[in-house]
Homo-oligomer: 460 residues x 2
Amino acid sequence: MHKHLLALSALLLAVPATASAQRYDARYGLEPGAHDEIAWDFLEGITTEVGPRLAGTEDEARGRAWAIEWLRERGFANVVDEPFMHNTWVRGEERARVTGRYAQPLVLTALGYSGATPAEGITAEVVHLASIDALRAVPDGSLAGKIAYIGHAMRATQDGSHYGYFGSPRRQGPGIAAQKGAAAILIRSIGTDTDRLPHTGATSWPDGTVPIPAAALSNPDADNLERMLERGETVSIDLVLTPQFLGMTPSGNVTGEIIGSDPSLPPVLLACHLDSWDTGTGAIDDASGCAIAAAAALRVAQEGQPLRTIRVLFAGAEETGLWGSAAYSAAHADEKIGVGLESDFGAGLIWRLEANFARSNPGLFQQLANAVTPYGVVPAPQILATGGADLNIVRDQGGPIIDLQQDGSRYFDLHHTANDTLDKVDPAELAQNVAVWTAVANVLANEPGDIAGPGIIAGE
Amino acid sequence: MHKHLLALSALLLAVPATASAQRYDARYGLEPGAHDEIAWDFLEGITTEVGPRLAGTEDEARGRAWAIEWLRERGFANVVDEPFMHNTWVRGEERARVTGRYAQPLVLTALGYSGATPAEGITAEVVHLASIDALRAVPDGSLAGKIAYIGHAMRATQDGSHYGYFGSPRRQGPGIAAQKGAAAILIRSIGTDTDRLPHTGATSWPDGTVPIPAAALSNPDADNLERMLERGETVSIDLVLTPQFLGMTPSGNVTGEIIGSDPSLPPVLLACHLDSWDTGTGAIDDASGCAIAAAAALRVAQEGQPLRTIRVLFAGAEETGLWGSAAYSAAHADEKIGVGLESDFGAGLIWRLEANFARSNPGLFQQLANAVTPYGVVPAPQILATGGADLNIVRDQGGPIIDLQQDGSRYFDLHHTANDTLDKVDPAELAQNVAVWTAVANVLANEPGDIAGPGIIAGE
């Protein structure tokens, strides 16, 4: 919060520098010492003063209250919290120990919406499955009383695109294992680090499936378990997981606006999500995104009132299944959005500009390209932007979307772990994000014509 | 164990590579693909099949039994387990949560020999002390009912020499805080990483001091707590730590020998420690050291029977206060050791040769220098080797000591954390260690004369 800026400026010197000096680099259009005070104030503030913001909990509500105060103090108009109801799940005890000859503890964490073991736990034999496809292939009932283990290791990619395939053991694996009769399922973390910090994340259960205990091992623990399994003897595990379903509890979407001079024009929507997993403080996922979106809106306003209204949407309950994004779309389906952008991939450098209107409105796409190339961002007119989790409303309307692709090479080292904390954000990279978003939002908010252009949006 | 070598060789391909290709480098005297099968077999085996080996526990005893079997199968003679008694401490529950306005959990771990809170915990205000010197300076009684917090952050150094000064908040801080009436003490982890994995380690209590609860915060949690404290309001913490003192339980020292052809010559002692903290699997601290020492002894024997006996000492209960090293010295005080070396600083590349007889026996020191320079190791005759924790017997005898300094630039990222696991060891760096130790042990074990030489050992 800005009242703490004096203390904050002293503190900044003490923040451990993950930034190396060469990141302040002309290649990214940044001056030496580049720093965005507004974005950093949001990010530092909410991670320090609120911390974790698990969907549907009091912690998430505190996050909304904090964000509302921040937006109002910074000068946003029409700041509101739109409530919706959410199926809330909270973590309990979680521990595992190999029994028998290789007896030792394994570090794991329950997946969101995991079922529970009895308080005293279960002991069961581990069945090693090399991939989600191997799990799909086992006969029904063959896992009865067993713990299914999927060990497929994810690789790092700059655009994060492997998350789709390699995330399937987490998203679909537990449901499939339950249908095949497994007592529980363990997966190797969907992550690219070698820290003993497992990666949580939501799983989903097919209709009629009773949730079974489901957890992720850290990568080093998955390695160790696989070494034991490779020795050829039966490996059993004592497993305790006691999460709870709390039923429907309130969550909410926070919005705020920089009012444009022509209220007849549909607004520019800058989206992110405010909830986080409970394990970290949600610095990269996704306080950074909200910091970038809000700072960009304010930076545009600093240059003069824009033509269009700029609206920020801090969605609630994204991590547990895009609940806020869906609720926002349902509540505002008839209010046309001019164009939507989302930041939900950390604070790595933006490297690529994508849109879904590059062919329908090439002139505007070229304007945007001219605005971002000074920051090391290259337009990719051949790639169709689809937006992220928090842009349901724009997708549902078939509207214009822009993706400002961030470098996610190391994002999945931290994603959904306890390590998602403030020190992992490079202030200079955050500043580059704000600079790019400001440049793009400035063009969009001052565009009088239809952003989709005279042609047809690709993908419609 | 060697019976698993077939499975092991297949597995090696799957081990996450922390090694980058350029580490297989002519600068270190290594061929491409350099790998020491003996050392890796020990290291992979004990971390996979035994795991953590906390001093005085059944886990440590399983580690000794495993090591004895390994040494005998590999052909060591006179393999024995020499028992001693040890004041044993085990971890309990450990959690902390900031109360009030900035409410959120903090990640911490109890220091070895920490006192306990009641099961329901304590709630107390935090007093921020910038350093161990600031703690020493506060008036007696001024910390009554408070939680002292020391935040001094350690820097990485290649030779690890900052561990002395920066480790003092852990070693002496709790005793000083207790004497000044504190209800508990928290310290910033003695570590150089930014992971949410706190660093444990033993503390010591002055005579007559009742242990208070004492724990280390991870570096990101220490950062976060300091940001809260900087805001100027009172910060209180709910703290639960329930470790237990088990009293005196058995530990032991494992030794084994490669028999030399001249039993009248004092042996070459290659030392390490077999116990580890309970948080990790003790891969770098110190299964690597035992793997290096044992592999070097076997590599010397492969070249023919040496003149002197080579003895390996796998000390017990090092982490909790060098109990095994002291017991070994007391039991064998009158049996002269020819020369002692220790490996207890991970498996980083060896970069410097030091001895305490460079001036008393310059000819032998030159021979050793000639043996190690091909591996990128440079002699430092001006530095006086003092040996490490497991060489009490040689220091007590005033005997010859060699230090083969390893690169510890990143050692304190992992030291005493859950992250001390097999994947953190680079097989090529481990192989360089074995190559250097083999070269040095070969010279020493075939030296007929007094290793101290005709002169006086420096420091005597």
